[in-house]
């Protein structure tokens, strides 16, 4: 008997396995009870929190073509540190899941399941979730677990306005230093030129974030830098990119203008930076093109 005959025979034998509808029904019942158990323990029967009327809900994930799932945040983070900490990796995994629509707004994120999935401890997952909670991407309530917040454009806007304020302070503090040496910023402007030319949205985002990080770092104020980092720029940039899709605009020129302003020691530098950051924020009223 040839290999193929034997394979065919085996396939026929396998065909008759699990063919009993009663068995299938039992297994469905088992799955059902398991899902219900998880739900009850999570208390997820409680109604989902909905945002007030009028606020536009970001349907994260719905606009993402399935072929493009991936790790936007992870790639963004790469430029900062070569080895992301476990917490950061887990955080990025969860953010990607939210961006990809794995977790819809209001859906529960099960700590244990992520821990199993990534083969890490629940403690590190909890740590990462806490960080996301501080970014207000998710919310937790006692005995109800962690849920994805119903994120709105207004939320993103709020984050951007704080960021604009911080960067305005940074610009003032860094003005003197940057007037003499802008090379750290210029490197990213050059990279942005290249990214613009190729319409490489990922590179645009990566170097935009890096540019602003250098700017804040140049201020030489660790409290400021820490606060700025706490806003989760990568995370929100990733969300904005996915949400607004790749907007074709020239990032290099905008940033080049900032560099020029530093060079000529523009007294209005704080205002210019602030306006620039606010200009990057997604707007509630703006329609997607």
């Amino acid at each position: 008997m040839s290999i193929d005959d034997r394979l065919r025979d085996a396939a026929r034998a396998v065909d008759s396995m699990w063919a009993d509808p009663d068995g299938t029904r039992d297994r469905l019942a088992r799955l059902q009870s398991q899902l219900e158990q998880e739900e009850v323990s999570a208390g997820s029967r409680l109604s989902r929190a909905h945002r007030g009327a009028g606020a536009r809900t970001v349907a994260i994930g719905s606009a993402v073509p399935s072929g493009e799932r991936g790790t936007v945040t992870a790639t963004l983070v790469e430029t900062r540190t070569t080895t992301a900490s476990l917490r950061e990796q887990i955080r990025d995994h969860v953010v990607d899941g939210i961006v990809d629509g794995r977790w819809q707004p209001g859906e529960r994120i099960v700590e244990r399941r992520i821990a199993t999935e990534l083969e890490v401890s629940q403690t590190s997952v909890r740590e990462a979730l806490r960080e996301l909670e501080s970014l207000r991407l998710i919310e937790s309530a006692p005995n109800r677990g962690v849920r994805v917040r119903n994120l709105t454009a207004a939320d993103l806007e709020e984050s951007y306005s704080v960021r604009a304020g911080l960067e305005a302070i940074a610009a003032e503090l860094a003005a003197e230093k940057l007037a003499q040496d802008c090379s750290a910023l210029e490197a990213h402007v050059a990279a942005l030129h290249e990214a613009d030319r190729l319409w490489d949205g990922m590179a645009q985002a990566r170097h935009t974030v890096a540019f602003h990080r250098e700017l804040v770092r140049a201020a030489g104020n660790s409290v400021l830098l820490h606060t700025w980092e706490g806003l989760g720029i990568e995370v929100f940039t990733a969300l904005s990119i996915r949400w607004l899709e790749t907007e074709q605009r020239s990032y290099a020129e905008e940033h080049e203008e900032l560099v020029a302003a530093f060079h000529r020691q523009d007294p209005r530098i704080a205002e210019i930076v602030k306006a620039h950051v606010l200009g990057c924020a997604p707007r509630t009223g703006r329609e997607r093109s």
Partner: protein
């Protein structure tokens, strides 16, 4: 959607056995097949809004099933439990499925010894008669690679089962 909803029940009744019939080519331990199949269908339920709209959910299901099986196998390995089938305390539960140890299934032991991709390609071709392009789609590889895996798989099976084809029957 509740897992008990009619729509999901019908989906489950149709696809769950198929997922298992795919997995049985890759794994001989009923409890691992059980775990992987259940996790796969839980995922389908989790992503139901997406999965229900697929005209052919097979590619998605089999892809996920393969991943979940690997997860289950790894988890088992970590727990240091024996991977040997039929030695688990709750094996009685699987009596229905594996009670008649069909002789025709013997070749599956050889298939399971193959490298994972070769085994998967063979399973998809033999169990579901899928064309090469669909196998390529499910496995996320090129058609050329599918052909290569199928060829290698048959070569390895011949080696595993002894050169003299049919000599053992």
């Amino acid at each position: 959607v509740k897992p008990g909803s009619e729509e999901f029940s019908r989906f489950f009744a149709h696809w769950e056995p198929q997922v298992r019939r795919y997995l049985v080519w890759l794994e001989g331990d009923p409890s691992l097949i059980d775990d992987a199949a259940q996790e796969t269908l839980i995922s389908a339920h989790q992503y139901w809004t997406k999965v229900r709209n697929y005209e052919q959910p097979r590619a998605w299901l089999f892809k996920v099933a393969g991943q979940r099986l690997r997860d289950a196998q790894q988890a088992r390995k970590r727990q240091g439990l024996s991977t040997a089938p039929y030695e688990l305390p709750d094996r009685a539960r699987f009596q229905d499925d594996f009670s008649v140890r069909d002789e025709r299934l013997a070749i599956l032991d050889a298939v399971r010894k193959l490298p994972a991709q070769q085994a998967a390609a063979i399973a998809l071709q033999c169990q579901y008669d899928l064309p090469l392009n669909e196998i390529a789609n499910i496995m996320d590889i090129s058609i050329g690679s599918v052909k290569k895996h199928l060829h290698e798989a048959r070569k390895n099976l011949r080696r595993l089962l002894g050169e003299d084809e049919g000599g053992d029957r």
